[in-house]
């Protein structure tokens, strides 16, 4: 017995020693805590290494556009740049940060900004940009944490109503029938539900249905993101309206149509209308070029016009060995000309106001996106809210069979807890 315990103890001691030795000689982790504070005139790192750019692409069009832009920048700056479309942007970024070897430049969404800023993964280079006044103020606000602008907005999109013109005509509708109120939307959807297709579809996400909430005057939180307002009467009204459409049979979620998002359902003509953002225009031209469609503003709700706004920014990693080149890369990518080129390739809107006029001139058919920019709201981006929103999304799929008030009350509880903690 004694010998066995002795052996066990030796084995345990060996394991413990091994663990401690490992922690001491950790070559994989870099103690990045000390590298220069977030703001101020911090020195940027610089090296000859090529840049790695990690993007969460919306499709082939975007990947190709970013790649060619990066190639052009490489040629003029002399530093190489490799663009990688991510399979799972959040996961790959998390692994990169934890390993101390993140990509140099990457997309950051409004929802992930808070987390990365808080754990020190991002370089707050906002004060080192040449000109931040050209960016839309609402966009820079989304990327400012503690009065520090962390990254430059790369573009933005709003939600609008896509209408299949062939189905529209087949149902006997004309331009004057374009819905501008909720009731008109309901009528039009009903008329378009025929021939085995449904009138309206969206993906079952708050990132789409939230537009109705803004039109009813509701939001998930108050402006300062200190109080949760999920179960407000306005939000209940909005979701009840959607439920009404679902019950009528004139609207179906894309998941019920067997598609992963509204864009595919729209492209395959399973629905005559869909509510989607700018990115759908790129997907339509690459995957469904034969479908004719037009884009109109979303109808006004009880409290007027409203839509959702989505934007990403170019994040630079604090652990990047070549921050100088990364900054120069971002400056190039957010320049007016480059943003107009991106807009041409995959339909997004430039984040700089100086490009607005040109954009509207070149794409009058997409004017609806830009016109709604004033009434556009973003989703909450405070720390912890992303999980609440993801959980909300998971419950929206069964909106038809759930009581709206109960559903919203549950999310309210989670949102309040997230905003508090």
């Amino acid at each position: 017995m004694q010998r066995r315990t002795a052996r066990m103890l030796t084995a345990g001691a060996m394991a413990l020693t091994a663990a401690l030795t490992l922690s001491a000689c950790g070559s994989g982790f870099s103690s990045s805590g000390g590298n220069g504070s977030g703001g101020g005139a911090a020195k940027l790192t610089s090296s000859d290494d090529p840049l790695t750019v990690l993007i969460g692409s919306s499709g082939d069009a975007e990947t190709a556009a970013v790649k060619s832009a990066a190639a052009a920048w490489s040629k003029s700056s002399g530093t190489g740049a490799t663009v990688q479309p991510a399979n799972n942007l959040d996961q790959q970024l998390a692994q990169g940060f934890a390993a101390g070897k993140p990509a140099d430049v990457f997309y950051v969404s409004t929802s992930s900004l808070a987390g990365y800023a808080a754990n020190g993964s991002l370089l707050a280079y906002g004060d080192q940009l040449e000109d931040t006044s050209d960016f839309y103020p609402t966009l820079t606000k989304s990327f400012t944490v503690d009065d520090q602008l962390y990254c430059a907005p790369k573009d933005f999109s709003t939600l609008a109503l896509f209408i299949n013109t062939k189905d529209w005509k087949a149902a006997g509708l004309t331009d004057s029938d374009v819905p501008t109120t909720w009731d008109q939307l309901r009528t039009v959807s009903e008329k378009l539900t025929r021939d085995g297709r449904v009138g309206l579809t969206t993906s079952p996400q708050i990132e789409r249905l939230g537009a109705f909430m803004t039109q009813a005057g509701g939001a998930l939180t108050n402006g300062a993101q200190t109080k949760a307002t999920v179960d407000s009467a306005a939000n209940v009204e909005a979701l009840d309206y959607v439920k009404g459409l679902l019950d009528d049979g004139s609207m179906k979620f894309s998941s019920d149509l067997g598609e992963s998002w509204g864009g595919d359902a729209f492209g395959k003509d399973k629905a005559a209308m869909t509510i989607e953002g700018n990115w759908l225009t790129g997907a339509m031209s690459s995957s469904y070029p034969s479908v004719d469609y037009k884009v109109v503003a979303l109808p006004k709700g009880p409290k007027g016009a409203g839509t959702l706004q989505f934007t990403n920014c170019w994040g630079i990693a604090k652990d990047s060995p070549n921050q100088k080149a990364a900054l120069s890369f971002v400056e190039k990518m957010t320049s007016t000309d480059q943003q107009l080129a991106f807009a041409k390739a995959f339909g997004v809107m430039p984040s700089v106001e100086s490009a607005a006029g040109t954009w509207k001139q070149e794409y009058p058919q997409y004017a609806a996106f830009l016109d709604q920019a004033d009434a556009a709201q973003g989703l909450p981006n405070a720390s912890g809210t992303a999980d609440v929103i993801a959980d909300f999304d998971s419950k929206l799929g069964s909106l038809r069979t759930t009581d709206t008030k109960t559903l919203l009350e549950g999310v309210q509880k989670n949102m309040a807890a997230a905003l508090k903690g």
Partner: protein, 346 residues
């Protein structure tokens, strides 16, 4: 030690050294590291052993097991989903494996080699490939719905249907079930059974693992001495009685193995969820293993992710011990003893 013995000892250590190093480094040490992360507040940047990371005690565990927040809700949901998965898969796959083994071992079946191969082949394939197949087969216009439509039934949109099996067709829940919660989920939800989407995964599990366990049963059946069976036949026992009272008790060790492996495997289901639904619809295919992964790698909550992993470990140990206890060799009950004695004096 003599020269020869010392040489042998040195060889012994040398031979086992690679095994010890690899298994120690990548299996034993990680467990220690994860234990530390689960009681720390490491945020995912830099080393977990650096001076910035502090000890927070059971905070992460408290977040998951109480706390009233989203963490507790998600953990409760994941636990419920996996519990139903285990309850359905383990008995099903054991029964199917045993049935197939009996079918293939029986003397009356011709072409046993072909059948054995056919039943075992799914176990050889990768879970990723089979999940891709399953996504296609069980899509709303897929093969499965086509086949059951021949019987006049309208198949559900399998992977998008979050309703629990036991809730299909149920109305509003009674108040005493809906109002009380455990781990953030109401009792009504706990009793919902696996969702329709999870049921598709249950079928997947039975499909891919019954072949492996079938082989174990075949090997065990082959080792049975036929004399016992013949003796029972001579005593006048019908084939069903023979199976229950003679064959099955002799298969106890293999049954034990199959159940243990089944329990360990089903509590860890990850690959299929990662490839297929990633927790959707409505979080009904979320499992603790997948939740542990997403908490760490997507939500950057490494402490919570590690804590979930350890709780999962504990659950597996408990279930294995429970199963061991349930199948232990019990002394023959007096009633059975009397039956045996009565039978032997004829």
């Amino acid at each position: 030690m003599s020269r020869k013995n010392r040489a042998e000892a040195v060889s012994g250590w040398l031979f086992t050294a690679p095994t010890i190093i690899v298994l120690g480094l990548f299996l034993a040490v990680p467990v220690v590291m994860a234990a530390w992360v689960s009681v720390s507040d490491w945020r995912g940047v830099g080393s977990p052993f650096s001076s910035d990371v502090s000890f927070v005690g059971g905070q992460n565990y408290a977040k998951i097991l109480g706390g009233g927040g989203l963490d507790e809700q998600n953990f409760g949901t994941a636990l419920r989903n996996n519990l139903w998965y285990v309850v359905f898969v383990v008995p099903l796959q054991t029964a199917v494996a045993l049935g197939l083994a009996l079918l293939v071992s029986g003397r009356a079946l011709r072409g046993r080699g072909f059948f054995r191969t056919a039943f075992y082949f799914p176990s050889v394939t990768s879970s990723v490939a089979i999940t891709v197949l399953w996504l296609f087969l069980f899509s709303s216009t897929g093969a499965v719905n086509k086949i059951i439509s021949w019987a006049g039934i309208n198949g559900p949109n399998w992977f998008n249907e979050p309703t629990g099996l036991f809730h299909l067709g149920a109305g509003t829940p009674p108040a005493f079930l809906a109002d009380h919660t455990m781990l953030g989920i109401s009792w009504w939800e706990w009793l919902a059974g696996p969702s329709v989407a999870m049921t598709a995964f249950i079928l997947l599990a039975v499909f891919t693992t019954s072949g492996t366990f079938m082989l174990l049963f075949i090997a065990a059946l082959q080792n049975l001495s036929p004399e016992v069976d013949e003796a029972a036949m001579i005593d006048g026992a019908g084939s069903w009685t023979r199976f229950w009272r003679v064959t099955l008790p002799q298969l106890r060790p293999t049954l034990f193995t199959v159940l243990t492996l089944g329990l360990i495997g089903t509590w860890q289901v990850f690959d299929q969820i990662y490839t297929g639904t990633k927790g959707a619809p409505a979080n009904t295919t979320l499992t603790p293993a997948f939740l542990s992964y997403t908490s760490a790698f997507q939500s950057q909550q490494w402490g919570v992710g590690a804590a979930i992993a350890f709780i999962l470990f504990g659950i597996i140990v408990v279930f294995t011990l429970l199963q061991r206890w349930a199948l232990r060799d019990r002394p023959v009950s007096r009633r059975r003893m009397r039956w045996i004695e009565k039978g032997s004096t004829r």
